[in-house]
């Protein structure tokens, strides 16, 4: 028992020694991240089977994160009118997907495909170790758009054949 405690103490010592930034500097989330975490916008789900909904489901296996981002598209104009997200992961991942849902609203689909993870990361002041969270959000947007387009192709194909 004592040996284990001593071992833990030694490990605590050495890990403190090996992380030079731990003394004095506290690592904290940027206020934008905290804002999105405390007041997340657009949390929720749309009906996956609704033809005007595109669902993007992506994951980061390295840290076990999973992110679902859904867009509601106006069929006539091709504009995204609403968005929802559900993310299981760290604060940065949740904030990134929250930001993504805010940014896609009111934009055309082609436009949102140009949203870069670096912009999201900059907005949230994400540290380098959390950059992949913003990448996940970018991938989620692209996946949602892709899903919507594929659904449209399928329904259009069915529609045309039934009309003919």
């Amino acid at each position: 028992m004592m040996l284990r405690q001593a071992a833990k103490k030694a490990l605590g010592l050495t890990s403190r020694q090996s992380t030079p930034w731990s003394v004095g500097i506290s690592r904290s989330y940027h206020e934008n991240v905290i804002d999105h975490y405390d007041n997340p916008r657009n949390v929720g789900s749309f009906d996956k089977n609704d033809p005007s909904i595109g669902t993007g489901l992506v994951g980061a296996p390295a840290c076990g994160d999973v992110m679902k981002l859904q867009i509601k598209v106006d069929e006539k104009t091709g504009q995204i009118v609403d968005a929802r997200f559900k993310t299981f992961g760290c604060g940065s991942a949740i904030a990134s997907s929250s930001v993504a849902t805010e940014w896609v609203k009111g934009k055309a689909m082609e436009e949102v495909l140009t949203i870069k993870n670096t912009e999201i990361a900059k907005h949230l002041s994400l540290p380098p170790v959390k950059l992949h969270c913003s990448m996940l959000a970018e991938d989620a947007i692209k996946a949602a758009v892709k899903d919507y387009k594929e659904k449209r192709l399928k329904t259009n194909g069915v529609g045309e054949s039934s009309q003919a």
């Binding site: 040996l3 001593a6 071992a7 030694a10 490990l11 010592l13 050495t14 890990s15 489901l57 992506v58 994951g59 980061a60 296996p61 390295a62 840290c63 076990g64 999973v66 679902k68 559900k86 299981f88 992949h132 990448m135 996940l136 991938d139 996946a143």
Partner: protein, 265 residues
């Protein structure tokens, strides 16, 4: 240099070595004559080693093969010059001094295990404690600063090795790393079946409120972990590394889910 000398010595004493197996000499000082050095090495090992098998038993039959994996490096003790052929030379049995870190020593070597995924986790704890009894920084207060630094490094490495090998997932990732397959890449996955399953699992955990329900979910997830751990072994041993990576990914997701459950409990 040492190794070349040893090799030459081995070849030259090929016929005579077996006869000099049990000499009467028990001196431990550095001997320039490699023949007597080898025999004295074996002799000195016997009284001091208590838990480990005597070196001569371990290496009998393998003395003449320079290509065997365990004798890749022969290390010399910085304090007394004792020549060790142990794969993981962390501690000199002859003068009881702690050795500096050797980066080529991997975690399996530290615990004297084969480099494979399946291992006897029960013996691991015992070996870990044995190591800490020799290496722990608390035991070297009256030694030089250099040795105290070695103790801190070695003790931390052994602890890290123990933690990595005890848990299935970290062991899997480590063994993949040893084989040059880096698992921890930041690439997004889009496998709908897996992701939907994990989504549902995490949602269930988030909605579950009593500990009984959470325990139930946890045992289900542990089941899955075991299942995928077995799949990993199979894939890894058949060299299907892409599949092995997928197994590890799944295991990571299940481990995260378990952590969430523990947080809630």
């Amino acid at each position: 240099m040492n190794r070349a000398r040893k090799l030459v010595a081995s070849i030259s004493t090929l016929s005579t070595r077996r006869r000099t197996y049990s000499p009467s000499s028990t001196f431990r000082t550095i001997s320039i004559n490699s023949q007597t050095h080898h025999s004295s090495r074996r002799e000195s090992f016997q009284p001091s080693s208590s838990s480990a098998k005597p070196l001569w038993l371990r290496f009998s039959g393998r003395e003449f093969s320079s290509g065997s994996s365990d004798t890749t490096s022969s290390s010399v003790c910085w304090n007394c010059g004792f020549l060790s052929e142990k794969a993981a030379f962390l501690f000199c049995e002859s003068c009881r001094s702690i050795q500096p870190i050797d980066d080529s020593v991997d975690y399996f070597q530290i615990f004297d295990l084969e480099k494979k995924y399946e291992l006897d986790a029960g013996s691991l704890e015992g070996k870990y404690k044995d190591w800490q009894k020799k290496l722990h920084p608390d035991l070297v207060h009256n030694k030089s600063q250099k040795e105290r630094d070695y103790a801190a490094d070695q003790s931390a490495k052994v602890t890290e090795a123990y933690r990595t090998l005890t848990k299935r997932l970290s062991r899997a990732m480590y063994i993949m790393k040893l084989n040059g397959k880096n698992v921890n890449e930041e690439e997004t996955i889009t496998d709908p079946t897996l992701l939907m399953e994990i989504m549902e699992l995490r949602e269930t955990i988030a909605e579950a409120n009593d500990s009984k329900e959470l325990d139930q979910i946890r045992s289900q997830v542990q089941e899955k972990l075991k299942q995928w751990s077995d799949s990993f072994v199979e894939a890894f041993e058949s060299q299907r590394f892409d599949e092995a990576v997928k197994c590890i990914q799944r295991m990571t997701y299940y481990e995260r889910a378990c952590e969430e459950i523990v947080k809630k409990l």
